[in-house]
């Protein structure tokens, strides 16, 4: 319930801004398809570990001010040297351009983004670390789903290429995975993996992406 309320509150400004588009010029931007690569940094998670990864995405514009992004990320995180965490995100997002929206050389396009993804997380223990010698589990994984929202901006270096920087807060809806150092046999410190109950686990996702314009899928580009 709390999540739904948060999501509705977060999306409200988008709808409000969207009302101001009565004097919009004819839609020449829809259908534009871009393909890109990105570097991803995951920070400020509940477990306090930062991750680093890469991903890819394509973007398909539906209107002058409305873009969609379809992405996949692969992120690895070091957990205090005794374990590594791997996250895979596959999802989509809607980008709204409240100000500038033309994909032309030199244009700076800020945007608001909200989206959803499915994610897979796996934690593997570093079996050479003494803290793991008596661990019950060596690996643990889970599927979950997540929503995210954030701000970004795109700079068009040329008419067919842009660089985008975005920061999004991602909220995972599902079981959480924990690592914890507990007292093992003979009180020897031991890492234990566990799956928490349904919870809201969040982190900040910062992406730096390179996007190449591929083409206009339904040919509304202004000649």
């Amino acid at each position: 319930m709390k999540t739904k309320f948060l999501l509705a509150a977060a999306l409200m400004p988008l709808f409000t801004v969207a009302q101001g588009g009565n004097n919009e010029p004819k839609d020449f931007e829809s259908g534009k398809l871009q393909l890109g690569m990105r570097t991803v940094v995951s920070a400020f998670s509940d477990s306090k570990y930062s991750g680093f990864g890469l991903g890819g995405q394509f973007r398909l514009k539906l209107q002058n001010r409305l873009n969609t992004e379809w992405f996949a990320d692969y992120i690895t995180t070091n957990v205090d040297d005794y374990a590594s965490r791997t996250d895979v995100h596959v999802g989509w997002a809607v980008q709204y351009y409240p100000f500038n929206y033309l994909m032309t050389k030199g244009s700076f396009i800020p945007y608001v983004e909200a989206g959803h993804c499915f994610d897979y997380t796996q934690i593997d223990l570093n079996t050479s670390n003494p803290l793991t010698y008596y661990s019950t589990l060596q690996s643990l994984s889970r599927w979950s789903s997540a929503v995210h929202m954030g701000l970004g901006s795109t700079y068009n270096i040329s008419n067919n290429f842009d660089v985008s920087l975005a920061a999004m807060y991602m909220l995972h809806l599902g079981d959480d995975l924990h690592t914890e150092v507990v007292k093992g046999p003979s009180d020897i410190p031991t890492v234990e993996l566990s799956k928490g109950h349904e919870s809201l686990e969040g982190h900040l996702l910062i992406t730096l992406s390179l996007n190449v314009y591929i083409g206009d899928l339904w040919g509304r580009e202004k000649k």
Binding site: M37, T39, L54, Y74, D81, T127, S128, P130, S158
Partner: protein, 204 residues
Amino acid sequence: MKTKTLFFLMLVSSLLLAQDEQKKEPFIRRGLLRNEATFSTGSMFSQGVTNVYLQGGIEYYISDNVSIRGEGYYFVTSLGDAQPFAFHHSVMSGASYHFRTKNHFDPYFGFAPGVSITALKFPPPYICDPGPCMGDPTPGKTAVDPLATLHLGFNLYFQRWFHLFMETNYIYGRHFSNYNPESLSELRFSFGLGWNVFVLKKRT
């Protein structure tokens, strides 16, 4: 080594002077396709390791200033006593920004995300030092690790077909296996002769 550097600098300067005689207009433009294959070396400062790679790459200029590229590095060996990796191959895909000059000289910089496929050759020294090996004394498991690279370099194009290139890559990444994480940060250098062709006609 010093002689080779001097020879290279003389070669570059004479080529630059030669370009000066010709009509002064930018050589690089949209539609230029170039590729290369060479050996490159990389220094991992944190481990004190020098790696040798067989490198191949392809690059396409999507506009007069911007190119997209893909490149692969096949790990050949590490030089010297330290041999931490069984293999450490990598692929990257990204883009470069080119400073347009009015000759055939093409300086650029860029960014490319990538991945490495890496396995440690032996258990790291901390496992066996001091005393007997603890834990699992087997080679590291193979892992796919994300990378991010910044590159800086230049191309020097001849009249057609060929060019010289020189590039430095800074690579950031970490390798996760059944051992403690290993830094994959590395400075790679590559130099060689590449091949190029214009696949689009010049706009008039």
